[in-house]
Subunit: 349 residues, 2 copies
């Protein structure tokens, strides 16, 4: 059990007394070793050793310095999903790398969707926040602004006066769907959830504007752009909405799509994971890819390589690096918004 009041651990004052120096000399020994003569330094460190002094107390130091040297990462509105999503993990990895380089700690904020989330954000001892893509109406966004600390948002929502690190999802979606929907009569889309309720369904006439996750919304807009470019009315396009980003769920929805009377002949998915689910459903339904049905993914993950998926390449890791750099200072650096189309064998064009 961690007691509310943790065990006393010895103070700088005690170390100074034992070493026969002033508190400031002891302090300098830790914070600016150069300002202290080697002899004194030794004496102080020895006294510390003797007392089992673990070094300056981090909380006291933060209070006095006005900085915690810790970055807060808000990972989605559901912590559980965050770690199941390899792209979120890649992003986290990029953020963590920059923190390590700069000697910053990285605090993961336990956002659960409950009412206490705001309080936790306000109570986080961090200098700045990075927000992993979330919904326009996510209440933590307001809580973060209230802290008046620097923020960088990944993906969305775009906030006035807040740096946004993102690729152009609409343009990328338009480009990939142009390949997916080429020479297609009845194309379909496999989408991420539209809002934090995370409903799962299949429908036509899904208005992109309904989607409160900006990334999802922009991709739907891009798919719609591509459909219109090809003269396909968007209202004809079947959209499967998954509650989470998973192959199994996409497979189940694709089952439904393929079983229906309409003979869908193209599916653009929002992740390689989803596309994999679609491929599996196709196999079971005896549809040849890309002859009967073309499929596209998103992310260019190992799955895409293995299964020959035409997909959108982007580096979530780089984007994580860019977010951390932007918020800790040093500029987002290049390539944070880079994306490209990788053509493989899952599309006809």
């Amino acid at each position: 059990v961690v007691p509310d009041q943790l065990p006393r651990r010895g103070t700088l004052a005690q170390v100074a007394r034992l070493a026969g120096v002033s508190v400031m000399t002891a302090s300098y020994t830790y914070s600016r070793p150069g300002r202290v003569s080697p002899t004194t330094r030794q004496r102080v460190l020895q006294a510390a050793e003797q007392l089992g002094y673990p070094g300056p107390d981090p909380s006291a130091r933060s209070l006095r310095r006005g900085s915690t040297r810790t970055l807060g990462l808000i990972l989605g509105e559901r912590l559980t999903y965050a770690f199941e999503d390899p792209q979120a993990v890649a992003f986290l990895s990029g953020v963590a790398q920059v923190c390590a380089e700069r000697g910053y700690g990285l605090t993961l904020l336990p956002i659960t969707g409950s009412a206490e989330d705001g309080a936790r954000v306000r109570a986080a001892a961090v200098d700045a926040f990075v927000v992993w893509t979330t919904a326009d109406d996510d209440p933590v966004v307001e809580a973060i602004r209230a802290t008046q600390r620097p923020v960088v948002v990944h993906g969305g929502p775009a906030l006035a006066g807040v740096t946004l690190v993102s690729i152009d999802n609409r343009a990328a979606a338009r480009a990939i769907a142009t390949l997916a929907f080429a020479s297609s009569q009845s194309p379909a889309v496999m989408s991420f959830p539209l809002d934090r309720r995370r409903a799962s369904f299949i429908a036509t006439g899904v208005e992109p504007a309904e989607a409160l996750f900006p990334v999802t919304r922009q991709r739907l807009e891009g798919y719609r752009d591509a459909a219109q470019d090809l003269g396909i009315p968007w209202t004809n396009v079947v959209v499967g909405v998954c509650a989470t980003n998973s192959a199994t769920e996409a497979e189940a929805l694709a089952d439904g799509m393929l079983a229906d009377g309409v003979s869908i002949d193209a599916i653009a998915a929002m992740s390689d994971q989803q596309a994999l689910g679609v491929l599996r459903a196709c196999k079971r339904h005896g549809r040849a890819v890309p002859a009967d049905l073309s499929v596209t993914g998103w992310d260019d993950s190992v799955v895409a390589v293995e299964w020959g998926l035409t997909t959108v390449a982007q580096s979530l890791r780089e984007q994580g690096v860019a977010c951390a750099r932007a918020v800790l200072g040093g500029g987002p650096g290049p390539s944070a918004d880079a994306w490209s189309i990788v053509r493989r064998q899952s599309t006809r064009s």
Copy 2:
């Protein structure tokens, strides 16, 4: 850029003055709302709103309370590897879940293998530490002890007076290798790295005691136990040592093993990822599994299900939960050390 001195954010004293109450009343409004009359409460909150006061400063609060309500997680001696390992991510997910439930923050410690790691650990504003499995000679272990804060170690090393959450790796390895090595003439092992240098090589006569990662050492011991049980001299057993836990690296090493004159007919791997690499190498070398060569994995991940791997089932997520519970109070709970053998089609017995 984050300035060293962050922007003033308004203090409780200012709020109190504006609300026309004492500082303590303002403080109670946040920390013990019940102790303040609803009217006063409203007045204080309104003053806070007006001043844009974001709530009590976390560092000041921590200093005064003597507790940060944050848990520190030491994720391996190389942050980069940690996120590439799905098992480490599952563990992290379990720890994060408990933190979220308890309203604790979770600080990931940016361990890089450099000399500053100790300083970072000492500088971490956390109440307690959870250590993801590391090597006996990892210097952060000493740094953690020096902080005099509660610690729980996952996997190893075992430290006097420190709670260890782990399965019995030796027993599990013996059990799985008994299946892998059954009716085998020249079995082999695919191992995790032996120490933090992470050398990659193929050798015989690898002494388990050489391995400084306790988990790796114990598994090697278990494999050796199984070999001895079956009357196979351990010195004959080929051991492929991977630098990291990855399918591609295991595949490369397996290539080397299968190309050699010795006709290896069984490989026990330390992860399903490694086993997958072995399976791929077998395919390319035209070796039938399990007829020509039996293969076992470890972890019972989706990979194992998909490829029909005989493997060791354990829940890293549960172990993460157990570690967090143990260190934050509440007991590790059941099933933290549960493991079992899952028999599938990759072994003959």
